[in-house]
Protein backbone atom coordinates (compact mmCIF):
# COMPACT_ATOMS: atom_id res chain seq x y z
CA UNK A 1 0.00 0.00 0.00
CA UNK A 2 1.17 3.46 -0.76
CA UNK A 3 2.10 6.05 1.81
CA UNK A 4 -0.86 8.20 0.77
CA UNK A 5 -3.22 5.27 1.33
CA UNK A 6 -1.79 4.96 4.85
CA UNK A 7 -2.48 8.63 5.45
CA UNK A 8 -6.10 8.10 4.40
CA UNK A 9 -6.39 5.05 6.66
CA UNK A 10 -4.87 7.05 9.49
CA UNK A 11 -7.29 9.94 9.02
CA UNK A 12 -10.29 7.58 9.06
CA UNK A 13 -8.95 5.67 12.06
CA UNK A 14 -8.16 8.93 13.83
CA UNK A 15 -11.66 10.28 13.38
CA UNK A 16 -12.98 6.96 14.65
CA UNK A 17 -10.81 7.27 17.77
CA UNK A 18 -11.95 10.83 18.32
CA UNK A 19 -15.62 9.92 17.87
CA UNK A 20 -15.33 7.03 20.32
CA UNK A 21 -13.60 9.29 22.87
CA UNK A 22 -15.81 12.39 22.80
CA UNK A 23 -18.24 11.23 25.51
CA UNK A 24 -15.43 10.52 27.92
CA UNK A 25 -13.85 13.90 27.22
CA UNK A 26 -17.02 15.64 28.37
CA UNK A 27 -17.48 13.25 31.28
CA UNK A 28 -13.97 13.87 32.54
CA UNK A 29 -14.08 17.59 31.89
CA UNK A 30 -17.45 18.27 33.49
CA UNK A 31 -17.90 15.68 36.21
CA UNK A 32 -14.23 14.68 36.65
CA UNK A 33 -15.34 11.08 36.22
CA UNK A 34 -13.86 8.09 34.47
CA UNK A 35 -15.88 5.31 32.89
CA UNK A 36 -14.04 2.05 32.42
CA UNK A 37 -17.24 0.54 31.05
CA UNK A 38 -16.86 2.91 28.08
CA UNK A 39 -15.53 0.19 25.75
CA UNK A 40 -18.42 -2.14 26.54
CA UNK A 41 -20.88 0.68 25.90
CA UNK A 42 -19.21 0.99 22.49
CA UNK A 43 -19.81 -2.74 22.04
CA UNK A 44 -23.46 -2.27 23.09
CA UNK A 45 -23.92 0.47 20.48
CA UNK A 46 -22.37 -1.77 17.81
CA UNK A 47 -24.56 -4.76 18.71
CA UNK A 48 -27.80 -2.81 19.02
CA UNK A 49 -27.12 -1.36 15.54
CA UNK A 50 -26.26 -4.82 14.23
CA UNK A 51 -29.37 -6.37 15.78
CA UNK A 52 -31.64 -3.63 14.48
CA UNK A 53 -30.26 -3.82 10.93
CA UNK A 54 -29.74 -7.58 10.60
CA UNK A 55 -32.47 -9.08 12.78
CA UNK A 56 -35.19 -6.46 12.97
CA UNK A 57 -34.75 -5.12 9.46
CA UNK A 58 -34.60 -1.52 10.61
CA UNK A 59 -32.81 0.86 8.21
CA UNK A 60 -29.30 1.78 9.34
CA UNK A 61 -30.31 5.43 9.63
CA UNK A 62 -32.85 4.45 12.29
CA UNK A 63 -30.67 1.83 13.95
CA UNK A 64 -28.16 4.52 14.97
CA UNK A 65 -30.64 6.63 16.98
CA UNK A 66 -31.95 3.41 18.56
CA UNK A 67 -28.44 2.54 19.69
CA UNK A 68 -28.00 6.10 21.01
CA UNK A 69 -31.20 5.94 23.05
CA UNK A 70 -30.18 2.63 24.61
CA UNK A 71 -26.64 3.88 25.26
CA UNK A 72 -28.01 7.08 26.80
CA UNK A 73 -30.41 5.17 29.03
CA UNK A 74 -27.61 2.90 30.16
CA UNK A 75 -25.55 5.98 31.01
CA UNK A 76 -28.43 7.39 33.06
CA UNK A 77 -28.84 4.16 35.02
CA UNK A 78 -25.10 4.05 35.73
CA UNK A 79 -25.13 7.66 36.93
CA UNK A 80 -28.18 7.02 39.11
CA UNK A 81 -26.34 4.20 40.85
CA UNK A 82 -23.09 6.17 41.17
CA UNK A 83 -24.62 9.54 42.09
CA UNK A 84 -23.44 9.57 45.69
CA UNK A 85 -19.90 8.59 44.70
CA UNK A 86 -20.03 11.28 42.00
CA UNK A 87 -20.85 14.05 44.43
CA UNK A 88 -18.17 12.78 46.82
CA UNK A 89 -15.72 12.50 43.90
CA UNK A 90 -14.93 9.00 45.13
CA UNK A 91 -12.85 8.02 42.11
CA UNK A 92 -11.75 4.62 43.39
CA UNK A 93 -15.37 3.50 43.84
CA UNK A 94 -16.29 4.91 40.46
CA UNK A 95 -13.40 3.16 38.72
CA UNK A 96 -14.42 -0.16 40.22
CA UNK A 97 -18.13 0.34 39.61
CA UNK A 98 -17.69 1.35 35.97
CA UNK A 99 -15.30 -1.56 35.39
CA UNK A 100 -18.00 -3.76 36.91
CA UNK A 101 -20.71 -2.31 34.68
CA UNK A 102 -18.48 -3.12 31.71
CA UNK A 103 -18.25 -6.78 32.66
CA UNK A 104 -21.98 -6.99 33.40
CA UNK A 105 -22.62 -5.51 29.98
CA UNK A 106 -20.22 -8.04 28.43
CA UNK A 107 -22.05 -10.96 30.02
CA UNK A 108 -25.49 -9.57 29.30
CA UNK A 109 -24.62 -8.93 25.67
CA UNK A 110 -23.25 -12.44 25.23
CA UNK A 111 -26.54 -13.83 26.61
CA UNK A 112 -28.67 -11.67 24.33
CA UNK A 113 -26.59 -11.51 21.16
CA UNK A 114 -24.52 -14.71 21.46
CA UNK A 115 -20.76 -14.92 21.62
CA UNK A 116 -19.97 -15.49 17.95
CA UNK A 117 -18.45 -12.76 15.84
CA UNK A 118 -20.82 -10.78 13.64
CA UNK A 119 -20.49 -8.42 10.72
CA UNK A 120 -22.48 -5.22 10.68
CA UNK A 121 -23.00 -4.41 7.02
CA UNK A 122 -24.52 -1.12 6.00
CA UNK A 123 -25.33 0.39 2.65
CA UNK A 124 -22.32 2.65 3.17
CA UNK A 125 -19.80 0.03 4.25
CA UNK A 126 -20.21 -2.10 1.12
CA UNK A 127 -19.58 0.72 -1.35
CA UNK A 128 -16.16 2.12 -2.09
CA UNK A 129 -14.81 5.43 -3.21
CA UNK A 130 -11.74 5.00 -5.42
CA UNK A 131 -9.33 7.72 -6.44
CA UNK A 132 -6.74 6.16 -8.71
CA UNK A 133 -4.96 3.66 -6.48
CA UNK A 134 -6.48 5.09 -3.31
CA UNK A 135 -9.69 3.84 -1.80
CA UNK A 136 -11.98 4.09 1.18
CA UNK A 137 -15.56 3.03 1.88
CA UNK A 138 -18.47 5.42 2.11
CA UNK A 139 -18.71 4.31 5.72
CA UNK A 140 -15.16 5.61 6.28
CA UNK A 141 -16.10 8.95 4.76
CA UNK A 142 -19.23 9.05 6.93
CA UNK A 143 -17.12 8.46 10.07
CA UNK A 144 -14.93 11.45 9.23
CA UNK A 145 -17.92 13.68 8.51
CA UNK A 146 -19.82 12.51 11.62
CA UNK A 147 -16.82 13.00 13.90
CA UNK A 148 -16.25 16.54 12.60
CA UNK A 149 -19.95 17.35 12.96
CA UNK A 150 -20.10 16.03 16.53
CA UNK A 151 -16.96 17.88 17.61
CA UNK A 152 -17.95 21.18 16.01
CA UNK A 153 -21.47 21.02 17.48
CA UNK A 154 -20.24 20.12 20.95
CA UNK A 155 -17.65 22.88 20.90
CA UNK A 156 -20.28 25.36 19.79
CA UNK A 157 -22.77 24.25 22.44
CA UNK A 158 -20.15 24.53 25.19
CA UNK A 159 -18.82 27.91 24.08
CA UNK A 160 -21.86 29.75 22.86
CA UNK A 161 -25.10 28.31 24.20
CA UNK A 162 -26.85 28.85 27.51
CA UNK A 163 -26.72 25.14 28.36
CA UNK A 164 -23.02 25.13 27.58
CA UNK A 165 -22.46 28.01 29.97
CA UNK A 166 -24.20 26.13 32.77
CA UNK A 167 -22.21 22.99 32.00
CA UNK A 168 -18.97 25.00 32.14
CA UNK A 169 -20.00 26.43 35.50
CA UNK A 170 -20.54 22.94 36.89
CA UNK A 171 -17.25 21.77 35.38
CA UNK A 172 -15.30 24.55 37.04
CA UNK A 173 -16.91 24.63 40.46
CA UNK A 174 -19.96 22.45 41.13
CA UNK A 175 -20.50 23.97 44.58
CA UNK A 176 -20.52 27.52 43.26
CA UNK A 177 -22.77 26.35 40.40
CA UNK A 178 -25.37 25.28 42.97
CA UNK A 179 -25.37 28.83 44.29
CA UNK A 180 -26.02 30.03 40.74
CA UNK A 181 -29.27 28.07 40.96
CA UNK A 182 -28.09 25.15 38.82
CA UNK A 183 -29.38 21.66 39.57
CA UNK A 184 -25.95 20.04 39.41
CA UNK A 185 -27.45 16.56 39.64
CA UNK A 186 -29.28 17.03 36.32
CA UNK A 187 -26.12 18.28 34.65
CA UNK A 188 -24.33 15.11 35.79
CA UNK A 189 -27.21 13.02 34.46
CA UNK A 190 -27.10 14.88 31.17
CA UNK A 191 -23.36 14.41 30.80
CA UNK A 192 -23.64 10.68 31.47
CA UNK A 193 -26.53 10.31 29.02
CA UNK A 194 -24.43 12.16 26.43
CA UNK A 195 -21.47 9.88 27.14
CA UNK A 196 -23.65 6.77 26.67
CA UNK A 197 -25.37 8.05 23.54
CA UNK A 198 -22.15 9.36 21.96
CA UNK A 199 -20.19 6.16 22.43
CA UNK A 200 -23.16 4.05 21.22
CA UNK A 201 -23.33 6.27 18.12
CA UNK A 202 -19.60 5.76 17.65
CA UNK A 203 -20.15 2.00 18.03
CA UNK A 204 -22.82 2.02 15.32
CA UNK A 205 -20.64 4.13 13.02
CA UNK A 206 -17.22 2.51 13.52
CA UNK A 207 -18.24 -1.14 14.05
CA UNK A 208 -18.94 -1.84 10.34
CA UNK A 209 -15.18 -1.51 9.73
CA UNK A 210 -14.34 -4.73 11.59
CA UNK A 211 -16.06 -7.92 12.78
CA UNK A 212 -17.78 -7.34 16.13
CA UNK A 213 -17.74 -9.52 19.24
CA UNK A 214 -19.57 -9.06 22.53
CA UNK A 215 -16.22 -9.52 24.27
CA UNK A 216 -14.72 -6.44 22.60
CA UNK A 217 -14.31 -3.12 24.36
CA UNK A 218 -10.91 -3.28 26.03
CA UNK A 219 -8.99 -1.86 23.07
CA UNK A 220 -11.55 0.92 22.68
CA UNK A 221 -11.35 1.99 26.32
CA UNK A 222 -7.54 1.99 26.20
CA UNK A 223 -7.41 4.07 23.02
CA UNK A 224 -10.03 6.44 24.46
CA UNK A 225 -7.90 6.86 27.54
CA UNK A 226 -4.89 7.76 25.40
CA UNK A 227 -6.90 10.26 23.32
CA UNK A 228 -8.51 11.96 26.31
CA UNK A 229 -5.31 12.30 28.30
CA UNK A 230 -3.19 13.24 25.30
CA UNK A 231 -5.71 15.89 24.26
CA UNK A 232 -5.72 17.47 27.69
CA UNK A 233 -8.47 16.49 30.08
CA UNK A 234 -11.76 18.16 29.24
CA UNK A 235 -10.51 19.72 26.02
CA UNK A 236 -12.86 19.09 23.09
CA UNK A 237 -10.46 20.51 20.53
CA UNK A 238 -7.55 18.65 22.15
CA UNK A 239 -9.37 15.32 21.93
CA UNK A 240 -10.05 15.83 18.25
CA UNK A 241 -6.43 16.65 17.51
CA UNK A 242 -5.20 13.80 19.71
CA UNK A 243 -7.62 11.33 18.09
CA UNK A 244 -6.55 12.20 14.56
CA UNK A 245 -2.86 12.25 15.53
CA UNK A 246 -3.17 8.85 17.18
CA UNK A 247 -4.94 7.45 14.11
CA UNK A 248 -2.18 8.68 11.78
CA UNK A 249 0.48 7.39 14.17
CA UNK A 250 -1.18 3.97 14.39
CA UNK A 251 -1.61 3.64 10.62
CA UNK A 252 1.92 4.76 9.80
CA UNK A 253 3.57 2.83 12.62
CA UNK A 254 1.61 -0.27 11.63
CA UNK A 255 2.65 0.05 8.00
CA UNK A 256 6.25 1.16 8.46
CA UNK A 257 7.25 -0.76 11.60
CA UNK A 258 4.83 -3.43 12.78
CA UNK A 259 1.13 -3.51 13.62
CA UNK A 260 1.91 -5.79 16.59
CA UNK A 261 3.51 -3.00 18.62
CA UNK A 262 1.26 -0.03 17.84
CA UNK A 263 -0.50 0.03 21.23
CA UNK A 264 2.82 -0.21 23.05
CA UNK A 265 4.20 2.58 20.87
CA UNK A 266 1.10 4.73 21.44
CA UNK A 267 1.61 4.41 25.18
CA UNK A 268 5.29 5.30 24.87
CA UNK A 269 4.22 8.48 23.10
CA UNK A 270 1.60 9.13 25.81
CA UNK A 271 4.15 8.68 28.60
CA UNK A 272 6.62 10.96 26.81
CA UNK A 273 3.95 13.64 26.37
CA UNK A 274 2.90 13.39 30.01
CA UNK A 275 6.51 13.78 31.15
CA UNK A 276 7.14 16.77 28.91
CA UNK A 277 3.66 18.39 29.08
CA UNK A 278 1.84 17.07 32.13
CA UNK A 279 -1.48 18.64 31.08
CA UNK A 280 -1.53 16.90 27.71
CA UNK A 281 -1.28 18.74 24.41
CA UNK A 282 -3.57 21.56 25.49
CA UNK A 283 -1.46 22.16 28.60
CA UNK A 284 -1.73 25.50 30.29
CA UNK A 285 -5.46 25.33 30.77
CA UNK A 286 -6.76 24.31 34.17
CA UNK A 287 -9.46 21.75 34.89
CA UNK A 288 -12.80 22.32 33.24
CA UNK A 289 -14.31 21.71 29.86
CA UNK A 290 -13.57 23.77 26.80
Amino acid sequence: MTFLQQIINGIVLGHAYALVAIGWTLLLGVARLVNFGHGQMYMLGAFVSWWAVTKAGVPYGLALPMAMVIGGLFGLVMQRIMLKATFEQNLVSIMIMTLGFGYVLNGGAAMVFGSTGQILETALSTREITLGELWLTWQDAAIVVAAIAVFVSLKWILDASRVGRLVRMVAEDPKLAMLAGINVRWVYYGVFAFEGAAVAFAGGMVAPRTPILTSMGFDEVIMTFVVVVLGGIGSVKGSYVAGVALGLFTALFGALVSPAYTTAAAFLVLIAVLVLRPGGMSAGSAAGVH
Binding site: R168, D173, K175, M178, G181, R185
Partner: protein
Amino acid sequence: MSAPVLELKGLQVSYAGNRALDLAGLAVAPGEVVGVVGANGAGKSTLVNAVAGWSRGAPRVAGPITLDGERVDAWPTHQRVRAGLVLVPEGRVAFGRMTVEDNLSAAFAAPPAPGRRVYSRDEIYELFPRLEERRLHLGAQLSGGERQMLGIGRALMMGPRVLLLDEPSIGLAPKMVSQVLETLRALARTGLAILLVEQNVRAAIEVVDRLLLLERGRKVLEGPAREVGDDPRIAEAYLGAAA
Protein backbone atom coordinates in the same frame (compact mmCIF):
# COMPACT_ATOMS: atom_id res chain seq x y z
CA MET B 1 -42.12 46.35 61.12
CA SER B 2 -43.44 43.97 58.43
CA ALA B 3 -43.50 40.19 58.73
CA PRO B 4 -40.06 38.61 58.49
CA VAL B 5 -39.05 37.25 55.10
CA LEU B 6 -36.49 34.91 56.64
CA GLU B 7 -37.00 33.20 59.95
CA LEU B 8 -34.98 30.62 61.87
CA LYS B 9 -36.15 28.87 64.98
CA GLY B 10 -33.49 26.86 66.71
CA LEU B 11 -30.75 26.23 64.17
CA GLN B 12 -28.10 23.67 65.04
CA VAL B 13 -25.10 22.89 62.88
CA SER B 14 -22.31 20.44 63.59
CA TYR B 15 -19.24 19.26 61.73
CA ALA B 16 -18.26 15.63 62.38
CA GLY B 17 -20.12 15.65 65.68
CA ASN B 18 -18.76 18.98 66.88
CA ARG B 19 -21.42 21.60 67.44
CA ALA B 20 -20.47 24.70 65.44
CA LEU B 21 -23.67 26.69 65.85
CA ASP B 22 -26.64 26.66 68.19
CA LEU B 23 -28.89 29.61 67.53
CA ALA B 24 -32.20 30.04 69.31
CA GLY B 25 -33.77 32.18 66.62
CA LEU B 26 -33.33 34.90 64.05
CA ALA B 27 -35.70 36.88 61.85
CA VAL B 28 -34.92 39.29 59.02
CA ALA B 29 -37.57 41.67 57.68
CA PRO B 30 -37.81 43.03 54.11
CA GLY B 31 -35.53 46.01 53.70
CA GLU B 32 -33.61 45.15 56.82
CA VAL B 33 -29.84 44.65 57.00
CA VAL B 34 -28.74 42.36 59.81
CA GLY B 35 -25.04 42.17 60.53
CA VAL B 36 -23.48 39.01 61.97
CA VAL B 37 -20.19 39.67 63.74
CA GLY B 38 -17.84 37.72 65.93
CA ALA B 39 -14.32 36.36 66.10
CA ASN B 40 -12.94 33.66 63.80
CA GLY B 41 -14.69 30.36 64.41
CA ALA B 42 -17.71 31.99 66.05
CA GLY B 43 -20.01 30.33 63.50
CA LYS B 44 -20.78 33.29 61.23
CA SER B 45 -20.14 31.54 57.93
CA THR B 46 -21.72 28.40 59.29
CA LEU B 47 -24.90 30.40 59.87
CA VAL B 48 -25.32 31.88 56.38
CA ASN B 49 -24.21 28.65 54.69
CA ALA B 50 -26.76 26.66 56.67
CA VAL B 51 -29.51 29.09 55.68
CA ALA B 52 -28.59 28.58 52.03
CA GLY B 53 -28.26 24.82 52.50
CA TRP B 54 -24.76 25.01 51.16
CA SER B 55 -21.22 24.23 52.30
CA ARG B 56 -17.85 23.26 50.90
CA GLY B 57 -17.62 20.88 53.86
CA ALA B 58 -20.12 18.34 55.15
CA PRO B 59 -22.10 19.86 58.02
CA ARG B 60 -25.19 18.41 59.68
CA VAL B 61 -27.91 21.04 59.88
CA ALA B 62 -31.09 20.81 61.92
CA GLY B 63 -33.86 23.30 62.63
CA PRO B 64 -36.68 24.93 60.72
CA ILE B 65 -35.87 27.69 58.20
CA THR B 66 -38.74 29.58 56.60
CA LEU B 67 -38.72 31.90 53.61
CA ASP B 68 -41.91 33.97 53.40
CA GLY B 69 -43.51 31.53 55.82
CA GLU B 70 -42.61 28.45 53.76
CA ARG B 71 -40.33 25.76 55.17
CA VAL B 72 -37.23 25.46 52.99
CA ASP B 73 -34.84 23.50 55.19
CA ALA B 74 -35.42 20.21 53.34
CA TRP B 75 -34.80 21.82 49.94
CA PRO B 76 -31.56 21.35 47.99
CA THR B 77 -29.40 24.43 47.48
CA HIS B 78 -30.46 25.26 43.94
CA GLN B 79 -34.12 25.18 44.89
CA ARG B 80 -33.56 27.64 47.74
CA VAL B 81 -31.61 29.87 45.39
CA ARG B 82 -34.44 29.80 42.87
CA ALA B 83 -36.90 30.68 45.62
CA GLY B 84 -34.83 33.78 46.39
CA LEU B 85 -32.51 32.70 49.17
CA VAL B 86 -29.25 33.71 47.54
CA LEU B 87 -25.79 33.35 49.07
CA VAL B 88 -22.59 35.07 48.01
CA PRO B 89 -20.07 32.83 49.79
CA GLU B 90 -16.72 33.71 51.26
CA GLY B 91 -13.72 33.23 48.99
CA ARG B 92 -14.42 31.94 45.50
CA VAL B 93 -17.42 33.78 44.08
CA ALA B 94 -16.38 34.06 40.41
CA PHE B 95 -15.96 31.37 37.76
CA GLY B 96 -12.32 31.97 36.89
CA ARG B 97 -12.40 30.42 33.42
CA MET B 98 -15.46 32.35 32.27
CA THR B 99 -15.73 35.94 31.15
CA VAL B 100 -17.43 38.51 33.34
CA GLU B 101 -20.29 38.51 30.86
CA ASP B 102 -20.74 34.72 31.08
CA ASN B 103 -20.40 34.89 34.85
CA LEU B 104 -23.32 37.29 34.80
CA SER B 105 -25.75 34.95 33.11
CA ALA B 106 -28.61 33.55 35.10
CA ALA B 107 -29.18 29.82 35.20
CA PHE B 108 -32.93 30.29 35.47
CA ALA B 109 -35.61 32.92 35.00
CA ALA B 110 -36.66 34.12 38.43
CA PRO B 111 -40.45 34.44 38.53
CA PRO B 112 -41.57 38.03 38.92
CA ALA B 113 -43.12 38.46 42.35
CA PRO B 114 -43.80 41.35 44.69
CA GLY B 115 -40.62 42.23 46.54
CA ARG B 116 -38.52 40.25 44.12
CA ARG B 117 -36.51 42.47 41.87
CA VAL B 118 -34.66 40.64 39.09
CA TYR B 119 -31.75 42.71 37.81
CA SER B 120 -30.66 42.53 34.19
CA ARG B 121 -27.03 42.38 33.22
CA ASP B 122 -27.21 46.00 32.07
CA GLU B 123 -28.53 47.08 35.46
CA ILE B 124 -25.62 45.26 37.11
CA TYR B 125 -23.26 47.17 34.82
CA GLU B 126 -24.97 50.38 35.90
CA LEU B 127 -24.54 49.43 39.53
CA PHE B 128 -20.89 48.40 39.04
CA PRO B 129 -19.52 50.24 35.96
CA ARG B 130 -16.14 48.60 36.57
CA LEU B 131 -17.63 45.24 35.57
CA GLU B 132 -18.78 46.57 32.22
CA GLU B 133 -15.28 47.83 31.49
CA ARG B 134 -13.99 44.34 32.20
CA ARG B 135 -16.85 42.35 30.70
CA LEU B 136 -14.62 40.35 28.35
CA HIS B 137 -12.00 39.56 30.99
CA LEU B 138 -11.95 36.15 32.66
CA GLY B 139 -13.03 35.81 36.27
CA ALA B 140 -9.48 34.78 37.18
CA GLN B 141 -8.13 38.12 35.89
CA LEU B 142 -10.25 40.23 38.22
CA SER B 143 -9.16 41.88 41.45
CA GLY B 144 -10.71 40.87 44.76
CA GLY B 145 -13.09 43.82 44.75
CA GLU B 146 -14.22 43.15 41.19
CA ARG B 147 -14.91 39.54 42.08
CA GLN B 148 -17.09 40.61 44.97
CA MET B 149 -19.00 42.93 42.63
CA LEU B 150 -19.40 39.99 40.25
CA GLY B 151 -20.68 37.74 43.04
CA ILE B 152 -23.18 40.35 44.21
CA GLY B 153 -24.16 41.08 40.61
CA ARG B 154 -24.88 37.43 39.84
CA ALA B 155 -26.89 37.18 43.05
CA LEU B 156 -29.02 40.19 42.11
CA MET B 157 -29.75 38.72 38.67
CA MET B 158 -31.42 35.80 40.42
CA GLY B 159 -33.99 38.10 42.02
CA PRO B 160 -33.12 37.52 45.69
CA ARG B 161 -35.69 37.89 48.47
CA VAL B 162 -32.89 37.51 50.99
CA LEU B 163 -29.27 38.21 50.17
CA LEU B 164 -26.79 36.31 52.33
CA LEU B 165 -23.30 37.77 52.17
CA ASP B 166 -20.26 36.14 53.70
CA GLU B 167 -17.49 38.68 54.33
CA PRO B 168 -17.79 40.71 51.14
CA SER B 169 -15.15 43.13 52.42
CA ILE B 170 -12.39 40.58 52.97
CA GLY B 171 -9.20 41.58 51.22
CA LEU B 172 -10.68 44.80 49.85
CA ALA B 173 -9.15 48.25 50.02
CA PRO B 174 -10.94 50.50 52.55
CA LYS B 175 -12.44 52.64 49.80
CA MET B 176 -13.82 49.55 48.10
CA VAL B 177 -15.25 48.28 51.38
CA SER B 178 -17.33 51.40 51.83
CA GLN B 179 -18.45 51.28 48.20
CA VAL B 180 -19.66 47.68 48.51
CA LEU B 181 -21.37 48.34 51.84
CA GLU B 182 -23.07 51.49 50.57
CA THR B 183 -24.36 49.52 47.60
CA LEU B 184 -25.86 47.02 50.02
CA ARG B 185 -27.56 49.80 51.94
CA ALA B 186 -29.05 51.11 48.70
CA LEU B 187 -30.30 47.63 47.80
CA ALA B 188 -31.98 47.28 51.19
CA ARG B 189 -33.87 50.50 50.53
CA THR B 190 -35.53 48.69 47.60
CA GLY B 191 -36.95 46.13 50.06
CA LEU B 192 -34.24 43.48 49.89
CA ALA B 193 -33.49 41.68 53.16
CA ILE B 194 -29.78 41.25 53.81
CA LEU B 195 -27.92 39.04 56.23
CA LEU B 196 -24.34 40.25 56.25
CA VAL B 197 -21.43 38.41 57.83
CA GLU B 198 -18.63 40.86 58.47
CA GLN B 199 -15.23 40.79 60.14
CA ASN B 200 -14.94 44.50 59.70
CA VAL B 201 -17.26 45.47 62.56
CA ARG B 202 -16.56 49.18 62.38
CA ALA B 203 -17.59 49.31 58.72
CA ALA B 204 -20.54 47.00 59.29
CA ILE B 205 -22.00 49.16 62.08
CA GLU B 206 -22.29 52.01 59.58
CA VAL B 207 -24.71 50.14 57.32
CA VAL B 208 -26.59 47.53 59.34
CA ASP B 209 -29.89 48.04 61.17
CA ARG B 210 -29.32 45.28 63.63
CA LEU B 211 -26.23 43.55 64.89
CA LEU B 212 -25.89 39.95 66.02
CA LEU B 213 -22.76 38.98 67.96
CA LEU B 214 -21.79 35.31 67.91
CA GLU B 215 -19.31 33.68 70.20
CA ARG B 216 -18.38 30.00 69.90
CA GLY B 217 -21.56 29.25 68.00
CA ARG B 218 -23.95 31.07 70.32
CA LYS B 219 -25.65 34.42 70.22
CA VAL B 220 -24.26 36.64 72.97
CA LEU B 221 -25.77 39.95 71.92
CA GLU B 222 -28.42 41.23 69.53
CA GLY B 223 -29.89 44.68 69.03
CA PRO B 224 -30.13 47.81 66.92
CA ALA B 225 -26.71 48.75 65.64
CA ARG B 226 -26.67 52.24 67.21
CA GLU B 227 -27.56 50.81 70.64
CA VAL B 228 -25.25 47.81 70.81
CA GLY B 229 -22.48 49.39 68.73
CA ASP B 230 -20.82 50.76 71.86
CA ASP B 231 -21.16 47.56 73.86
CA PRO B 232 -17.74 46.49 75.14
CA ARG B 233 -18.33 42.95 73.91
CA ILE B 234 -18.69 44.24 70.34
CA ALA B 235 -15.53 46.27 70.72
CA GLU B 236 -13.82 43.18 72.06
CA ALA B 237 -14.90 41.08 69.08
CA TYR B 238 -13.71 43.85 66.80
CA LEU B 239 -10.33 44.07 68.51
CA GLY B 240 -10.11 40.30 68.56
CA ALA B 241 -10.72 40.20 64.83
CA ALA B 242 -8.25 42.99 64.18
CA ALA B 243 -5.48 41.32 66.18
